[in-house]
Subunit: 223 residues, 2 copies
DNA sequence: TGATGAACATACTACCGGGTATGTTGTCAA
DNA sequence: TTGACAACATACCCGGTAGTATGTTCATCA
């Protein structure tokens, strides 16, 4: 679960801040708030209240509200990327690679729904034209990060088309339609209390099946 | 274009407000602002500035900012609904009806991109839990309006499946995936300057093709 | 053991934005 | 021509919010 790095002090006598888990606590609470009310409607006090703390704690770790948001953005992208990373260079035909990464991506959308929605809003904010010019730079960097992620899918479906397993016209339009379908659960999926793993994967399979057929995939996909 | 109702004065001597086109001017300007920055980040002064006016004009026609938003919501839904209404009871097989309404819906998403995004945000706002309890009532009404619209698609693809033209498992999941794909252009489509009608319909065709195959439609769809 | 700084909490400021109260102007009806 | 009202503009209030300045506590280290 946790990344598992502690390292309170180094061998040198230099003080090393431990606060990393306090920081991620803030990030997760902020993610909850940002998802529930959106960035603009969320106040820093809201995040502090959810933590049972005050603004002082947040501003000790983040210089501004915008930086708090981009922090959540980056954290979310890291989680999403980490899920797909093990399979992005999987050998074999591109279709099989697509099936794998599309599935783990969709499951991740449901499992990390909160972070995924913040990432979504971050991309939207960038497309609009975010707050300050300096903030635009940070957002642009993160959006590039996100674009690099979607490029994995873009290249994969292009290759699969070359190999005769997919069939579509314009790549840009198709990859957008595909991503919207795969991302859809972040808008309507609501995690249940006693939920089986099979329930989540069952939903993901149907979504991936929809996208698979949409891309022109033939036959059934066995996941 | 315009609804074409004037009726400045009745036969009775009673004064009848004419302001309907001024009202729609406000609605359209508000739609622009809400789309560009989102509801929370848009101030009433922003909308007034875009109109070259002041708050007084807006508050003369709308009791609150929330009512202004719901006004745009309703206006947008009217436009969207009006596009598919002529075809929703088209005779013949359900697949053909789906092809028609899916296509006009997607084209409308691009043509009325601004209004469509406000509708989108309105649904999101309702899912979150909007501002005041009284405002929730208005939003709930509009969301029901919107759900009635999506039910048209839901019933159509169900019927098409019964007729053997579509093939999918869970209706709820599938209709969500389909809608996300059809709505996708409201997030990435940007209207060009000298844009041909064929360009827009060409994009729409590809999106509808993606959804058609995703739903398990066989063969090519000729639009 | 005292000094130092991290990790917060508290108190405060400046400003923005929703809403209101009040003026001003043009138009139509009687 | 005059009253009345729609259709705005102006001026103002006030609550909320981002950000800051200043304590306070506790662990660590020389």
């Amino acid at each position: 679960m946790a990344e598992g790095e502690d390292m309170a002090t180094t061998t040198l006598g230099v003080r090393e801040p431990v606060a990393d888990d306090s920081r991620t606590d803030i990030l997760l609470a902020a993610a909850d708030c940002f998802m529930e009310r959106g960035y603009a409607a969320t106040s820093v006090d809201d995040v502090a209240r959810r933590l049972g703390a005050t603004k002082g704690r947040i501003y000790h770790h983040f210089p501004s509200k915008a930086d708090l948001f981009t922090g959540v953005f980056r954290h979310g992208m890291d989680r999403i990327y980490a899920a797909v990373e093990p399979y992005r260079n999987m050998p074999g035909p591109a279709v099989e690679r697509w099936k794998k990464i599309a599935f783990v991506h969709t499951v991740r959308m449901m499992r990390s729904k909160t972070l995924a929605r913040v990432v979504w809003e971050g991309v939207e904010m960038h497309l609009r034209g975010a707050t300050t010019p300096e903030q635009r730079v940070v957002l642009a960097d993160l959006v590039q990060y996100r674009n690099g992620y979607s490029d994995i899918f873009r290249r994969t479906i292009s290759q699969a088309r070359d190999e005769g397993d997919f069939d579509f016209d314009d790549v840009a339009i198709t990859v957008q339609s595909m991503f919207m379908a795969l991302n859809s659960p972040i808008f309507w999926y609501v995690p249940r209390d006693g939920e089986t793993e099979e329930h989540v994967t069952g939903i993901a399979k149907q979504i991936v099946t929809f996208a698979y057929r949409g891309l022109g995939g033939k036959g059934e996909l066995n996941l």
